[in-house]
């Protein structure tokens, strides 16, 4: 049986990849995918703990996260489409109109 630490190590690796991509990539779609990646890294950790501790709390959290992620994907993609229509660009550095 695969020990808990392996799952957690995988979860951390996935999260770091997601965070690094979120910070360093410039394409909005990629950034968006990185967010999903981080969420799923957390989901993995939840599931691993849930199995390890033998209760269902973690799995319930995972359902919530999936629901939120779905909603976020719907809203986020809509925002991205709107942005693309307005600016003809998917580069995140073009989205800085809040800057003084």
């Amino acid at each position: 049986m695969v020990p808990l630490s392996h799952y957690l190590a995988l979860s951390v690796i996935l999260f770091i990849i997601g965070a690094a991509g979120f910070i360093f990539r410039r394409n909005i779609i990629t950034v968006f995918m990185c967010i999903e990646l981080m969420l799923n890294a957390v989901n993995l950790a939840f599931m691993a703990f849930s199995r390890f501790l033998g209760n269902l709390d973690g799995q319930i959290f995972v359902f919530f996260v999936i629901v939120v992620a779905a909603a976020e994907a719907a809203v986020g993609l809509a925002v991205i489409i709107a942005l693309h229509r307005n600016r003809e660009s998917l580069n995140i550095e073009d989205v800085d109109s809040m800057k003084m």
Binding site: A19, I23, S97, M98, M100
Partner: protein, 663 residues
């Protein structure tokens, strides 16, 4: 309900407590009505409301006096609480009236004089503008004055005390477009404030010592003490209360506001600055007589200050050429007499002089107002003379009042002044020097008053030809009050026929119950001097002083009119000091006003206000916020990855904190 009233039928009490309210409240209603709606009313309506309120007050004051005198169980004071006004810890103050024979005398004097002056003002203020404003303030003043004299505890008395001060301020500055008038109002307000500070501290001290501010409770507790117990507390409280009286009644050294107060309309000078408000200090001392009786040193201060003020103000009045200012100094001097009476332990004589003075001094002022009216506002006596031909009634009434104030026998001032002087000489706490200085003052008073009569009404006319031909006697609205006051100025003294003439001094007997505890306590103090002159001799001296004063005045100002100028030349230094009123105003300016202005301008304004408050605090707050904001705004780059990096950094730091904290 106070003892003494217990066995009285409830009906009588009901009557008196309602009558007292009916006496106090009409002026307040009049002030409210005129103050709110007066602008739309005609002059006739305004004066009807104003005079009507004062008249109602007078009627109910008379009725209250009558009902009170019918009460069985006299001379117990009548006490009635209407509602609880302040309840804070052990401090309990009620809206309550305290009516005894002293209150009776005060309310009658105040309402009668006030009513007559209201009547006079109808004519005097006709062409002055601000007609409704004038009557509003006058009514409000009357309400406050009645509150002052009927209050049953120190806090309520203080309400009246401050209320009359406020009205005094408003009325001195009545012609507020004139800078000198508004300055005089401020001066009066600020100078009396110094005294009021003493009043409040004194009242607090009384509360601290006796745990009550109710007149009856405090007086009973003090009266139960042996002579010498609590003496330092009582002395401090007495002196502090007297400081309040000094401010309000314009005694040394706080008298400087009263001469300037003559900037107000003349009826105001007559009512507030001669007859009523300025005597509030005397009332306060007389009301608290038992406190002073247990602190003889404080009482000695009262007498000494009163006597010195009387003499000092009389010397200034000698050289004044402005009719109203001369009368103002005369008022200060006469108030000094009242304090001299109280300080000598003959409180009843002080109150007696308060009453007679209210009549003849308000008459003098009103007559001066009538002169002013005829002369088109001129007050300089050097530009008058010979007015008796044109202003017959004014002249006659002014002369009667002058005879009264000069202490000519058979006029009211003679009786009251004589009682004070006799008391100063022979009473238990009297001192001969008080008597001699007081008698000298009587001579000076007779001199300067007759000087003013000679300059104003007698002799040759020095009036401008332009003014001369429109000289006219005032209308009946003004002359009728003059005549009534002249009547009182003569007869008010007969209520107390002197002992020297085998009289009973009935007025003193009447007030005896009020001052009996104080008189009894004073008898326990050590007696200081032997009496060698009888009452007849004392009276002889004061008549002599008056006669000399009058004689010299007539000689110098009617017969040989060159003498005063020669004297002024020969003793130029003394004369200059007197005409400049001993340079006291200049001295106060130098000592207090100038430094205050300099500190205010150079430090409080330029440093504290401009630098500290404006620059550092107000502008500084804004500038500092902008600077911090300018720095923080750099975080808001608009670059989403940098936001994410900040979030990540925060998360990492937070985790580190958690791990280190739990490790």
């Amino acid at each position: 309900m106070r003892p003494g009233g217990r066995d009285v039928s409830h009906d009588t009490f009901m009557k008196l407590e309602i009558l007292l309210l009916l006496m106090v409240l009409p002026p307040l209603a009049g002030a409210a009505l005129n103050g709110i709606l007066g602008r739309r009313f005609s002059q006739a309506t305004v004066s009807l409301i104003g005079c009507g309120a004062a008249g109602l007050s007078m009627v109910f004051a008379l009725l209250s006096a009558w009902v009170y005198s019918q009460l069985p169980g006299l001379p117990e004071p009548f006490f009635h609480p209407y509602f609880t006004w302040i309840q804070a810890g052990t401090l309990h103050a009620e809206y309550a009236f305290y009516y005894d024979r002293l209150t009776l005398v005060m309310t009658l004097t105040v309402t009668v004089v006030a009513f007559l002056i209201h009547l006079y003002s109808r004519g005097y203020m006709e062409h002055e503008g601000g007609y409704y404003r004038f009557f509003t303030y006058m009514n409000l003043f009357l309400f406050m004055m009645l509150t002052l004299v009927t209050a049953a505890n120190y806090p309520l008395m203080f309400v009246g005390w401050e209320g009359v001060g406020l009205c005094s301020y408003l009325l001195i500055g009545f012609y507020f477009k004139r800078k000198s008038a508004s300055d005089a109002g401020k001066k009066a307000f600020i100078v009396t404030r110094i005294g009021d500070a003493g009043f409040t501290v004194g009242v607090a001290l009384l509360f601290w010592t006796f745990h009550s501010l109710d007149f009856q409770t405090v007086f009973d507790r003090v009266a139960a003490l042996r002579q010498g117990q609590f003496e330092s507390e009582l002395m401090a409280a007495g002196l502090l209360l007297f400081l309040g009286a000094v401010g309000k009644s314009a005694q040394l050294p706080l008298y400087v506001w009263l001469p300037d107060a003559m900037e107000g309309p003349t009826p105001v000078s007559a009512l507030i600055h001669a007859a009523t408000m300025v005597t509030a200090g005397v009332y306060l001392v007389a009301r608290s007589s038992i406190i002073y009786a247990h602190a003889p040193s404080a009482l000695a201060v009262v007498g000494a200050v009163g006597c010195l003020t009387a003499f000092y103000a009389a010397t200034i009045a000698l050289t004044q050429n402005d009719l109203k200012r001369m009368l103002a100094y005369s008022t200060i001097s006469q108030l000094g007499y009242m304090f001299l009476g109280c300080g000598a332990g003959v409180f009843a004589a002080g109150i007696f002089h308060l009453m007679t003075h209210a009549f003849f001094k308000s008459l003098l002022f009103l007559a001066a107002g009538s002169v002013m009216h005829a002369m088109g506002g001129e007050l300089d006596m050097r530009k008058m003379g010979g007015l008796r031909h044109k202003l017959k009634i004014t002249h006659a009434t002014f002369l009667i009042a002058t005879l009264a104030i000069s202490g000519v026998p058979m006029f009211s001032g003679f009786f009251s002044k004589d009682e004070i002087l006799a008391g100063a000489y022979e009473s238990w706490v009297g001192r001969p020097w008080l008597y001699w200085l007081g008698t000298a003052t009587a001579g000076l008073t007779a001199f300067y008053m007759f000087r003013s009569v000679c300059l104003t009404f007698w002799g040759k006319s020095r009036v401008d030809p332009g003014t001369e031909h429109h000289l006219h006697e005032s209308g009946s609205k003004m002359t009728v009050p003059l005549i009534v006051l002249a009547f009182f100025s003569v007869v008010a003294g007969y209520v107390s026929w002197p002992r020297a003439w085998h009289g009973s001094e009935a007025f003193d007997r009447f007030l005896e119950p009020v001052f009996a505890p104080a008189t009894k306590a004073l008898l326990e103090t050590p007696y200081s001097h032997p009496v060698s002159l009888g009452p007849g001799a004392l009276m002889g001296f004061s008549i002599l002083a008056a006669a000399i004063g009058i004689g010299i005045a007539l000689w110098w100002y009617l017969k040989s009119t060159e003498i005063p100028d020669q004297l002024a030349e020969r003793y130029a230094e003394v004369y200059t000091i007197l005409t400049h009123k001993y340079y006291v105003d200049e001295f106060y300016n130098w000592l207090i006003v100038r430094p205050l202005c300099i500190v205010s301008e150079k430090f409080l304004w330029r440093v504290v206000d401009v630098e500290v408050i404006d620059h550092i605090m107000v502008d500084g707050t804004g500038e500092e916020t902008a600077r911090v904001g300018d720095f923080l705004r750099r975080i808001q780059s608009g670059n989403i990855p940098s936001y994410a990096a900040w979030v990540l950094l925060g998360g990492v730091l937070w985790l580190l904190y958690i791990f280190t904290a739990h490790a």
